[in-house]
Subunit: 204 residues, 2 copies
DNA sequence: CATTATACTGTATATATATTCAGTATTAAT
DNA sequence: ATTAATACTGAATATATATACAGTATAATG
């Protein structure tokens, strides 16, 4: 991150305060009013400098299209997206997959997490994971045997217990007698671990 | 807070997701694009309804002037006590029974609730309620058949399904084959309903 | 010394955006 | 039976806003 001048810093602070106060970013004219500039171009040039230095992003042709780039806080907020667990396809954070956002204190489940996954089916019933429950998913590859993982096999997403039997063989175990074990030979089948469950929420 | 319709809820979620994604609120046209409306007035009317009901604030004459109102900030009830489910004794809100307090937005589970109850035992296992889970309890006497209730029988507190068989007979059903039904004759035994479960949280 | 970045004022304008008006249709409440 | 609320389409418009262009001035850089 490059240097910031004192005037640019004033503008950056002004944007942050404005968003905190109103809930949306300022216009060029708003910035002028707050900082006493008499020309909207004063704000414009400062914004372009801040953009060039990577402090903010400006959406072209968009009113109030300023967003603050905060690299140190990835999951700053309290709003976590709820992703639907579709039978096929990966549960990415793309907008079309986001059911809604759920307000929840950070570190709610001890460790941090990235999103909620809406559970479909009863394959983890005996682990107390029921249909429509929300699993708090932490995106990580740090998996231990017995962890409940969110795994993707050929675009099929599933929630199961993880058990590594040998370097090449992984078992994905359901917690329901009616479902059978999935045995995966990593040499022949690609297995991607989206993350693991660190908590659960049920809304009645 | 008044009721919200499903379409209005979609719009509200859309706004939250849009802000999360872009850093600034959507325009009427943005909402139309996200939700498939063909007229900006569709978004406008939904926004006005949400404003009227107190979910959002709209700054007049201001582009993207939408801000989401968070009622849990005004009502300071963010800290909910966790009560241990002791074999004997009532789970009152008395200080000695409070394990710790848990920070959680109000209205987290749709309806409001009063405290968390730490579950002991596996009598509700098949309902997905496991040992050490936290049940969100709403203190109410408004119980329907099939609700999961927190009941007290002679200082014994238990979590079970509620089924009224006749004006005088109530069945408290576990969700575990290894436990048996509790049949209560209200003429001979006193039954007090502490409240019902409106949600569940599991910390892994 | 020419160049570049900073730091402004001031004017102008295409367009992004809120917002009103005119309709249609369905459902719930009084 | 009538009102009110919901849920839209479609068009029109005043204005809010981004953004380019024309200047002036200072300080730092190579």
């Amino acid at each position: 991150m490059k240097d910031i001048t004192s005037q640019q810093n004033k503008v950056l602070n002004c944007i942050q305060v404005y968003i905190k106060k109103t809930g949306f970013p300022p216009t060029r004219a708003d910035i002028c009013r707050e900082l006493g500039f008499k020309s909207p171009n004063s704000a414009e040039t400062h914004l372009r400098a801040l953009e060039k230095k990577g402090f903010i992003a400006i959406e072209s042709g968009t009113s109030r299209g300023i967003s603050i780039i905060n690299p140190e806080i990835e999951h700053d907020g309290n709003d976590y997206p709820i992703i639907g667990l579709v039978a096929a396809g990966s549960p990415t954070l793309a907008a079309e997959n986001v059911e809604k956002v759920f307000n929840c204190p950070q570190g709610f489940f001890g460790s941090n997490f990235d999103y909620f996954l809406r559970v479909r089916g009863l394959s983890m019933k005996d682990a107390g994971i029921m249909e429509d429950d929300l699993i708090a998913v932490k995106k990580t590859q740090d998996i231990k045997n017995g962890d409940i993982v969110i795994a993707r096999i050929d675009d099929e997403v599933t929630v199961k217990y993880f058990h590594r039997h040998s370097p090449k063989i992984v078992h994905l175990q359901p917690a329901n007698e009616e479902f059978s074990n999935i045995e995966i030979d990593l040499e022949h089948t690609e297995l991607f671990i989206e993350g693991k469950s660190v908590g659960l929420i049920r809304e009645n």
